[in-house]
Symmetry: C2
């Protein structure tokens, strides 16, 4: 995403790319229209020509980010012919890939949801996030009813998975400076951590 740098498209696409990069790194409040314009190599007013306000531009960026993640995860988790451990591992890999390319994405999402939840929520609903979540819930519930998965509260499952998945990125500075030993990279830590996530979910669903 942020590091593809495919500045071949029109100016509008180049603006969105630059805006995403800066919004992700510095957040909404920390990014000025001047910053974005300077990053693209144009002048401020041109930004307002394409996206009347700063808020609208943020909406375009945020929608693009989430919309590129959501469908992939749904496809992986609903492959109910594969064992749970394999599916969870693939989902973790998918998230790890996006989070490693954009390390501040988890904090970005959480931060912007706190800033303007209603606006963000509307963007998510427009992307069909609700149906995405319901699909996953239904798929897992059917596997539980069929006896192939242990019955466990859906929110216990979701909360544990997403808290373990995102914490290394949300508190990356803390991890690197307090928890990661000398001579070990953050990637090494992530790989080890992935095992703990898969174990935790397997223990919940398989016993």
């Amino acid at each position: 995403m942020a590091n593809e740098k495919k500045h071949v498209g029109g100016l509008e696409a180049r603006i969105v790319d630059a805006a995403r990069e800066l919004f992700l790194e510095r957040g909404f409040a920390g990014t000025s229209m001047s910053d974005i314009a300077q990053h693209v190599g144009i002048n401020r007013p041109t930004l307002h020509y394409y996206f009347r306000t700063k808020e609208r531009m943020f909406g375009a960026v945020f929608g693009g980010i989430v919309g590129s993640l959501v469908p992939r995860v749904k496809d992986i988790i609903l492959q109910d012919d594969k064992p749970v451990g394999e599916r969870v591992g693939k989902v973790v890999d998918a998230y790890y890939g996006v989070f490693t390319a954009n390390p501040s994405l988890p904090l970005f999402i959480v931060r912007e949801m706190d800033r303007d939840f209603d606006g963000v929520a509307n963007t998510l609903i427009e992307l069909g996030l609700k149906s995405y979540i319901n699909s996953i819930k239904q798929g897992l519930l059917e596997e539980m009813k069929a006896g192939r998965l242990k019955r466990v509260p859906m929110r216990y499952l979701f909360m544990t998975f997403y808290s373990m998945l995102t914490m290394p990125f949300v508190a990356r500075n803390l991890c690197c400076n307090v928890l990661v030993s000398d001579g070990e990279s953050f990637a090494d830590f992530l790989a080890e951590w992935k095992g703990y996530i898969v174990d935790a979910v397997e223990r919940m669903l398989c016993e």
Copy 2:
């Protein structure tokens, strides 16, 4: 803390109280000196008289917040005559209490560490956070060597505990709107969630 509203002290204390409330809610960048002054009922320049810069004022607020949490947790977790489950439950209660009084505190800490890690880290070091962490590590390691606790990587323990502990507050909006059922309060959800945290830590350390 933020809701004690003991505006009986001097003006300096009242300023710190108002600043804490606003910083917690809107973050550093989202809070202006004008906001704080207006909240206290004084004029901007008076703020600069007490805390020369905005950064220094943030340092005072942040140090106060963390300094009030750190010692209590250390005292609880080092009571090695009590069973692990009881100790973890008490630590969760302590954090829950502070987080419930200041719901945006976890997000605040994570956000400000991302903004200026070195500055924040220096504040934490001045508060003796390193010796606090080392005390806990040493205490647990001794219990492991004595065979009363299962040997488990310290960071696995810390990461799992803090990710599960903070996630409901970091992503509170998401929890309330997606995971909490109708007619159930956030407090109900927290109480249920506490059980899962204690279980997870007990399973790691006791088996």
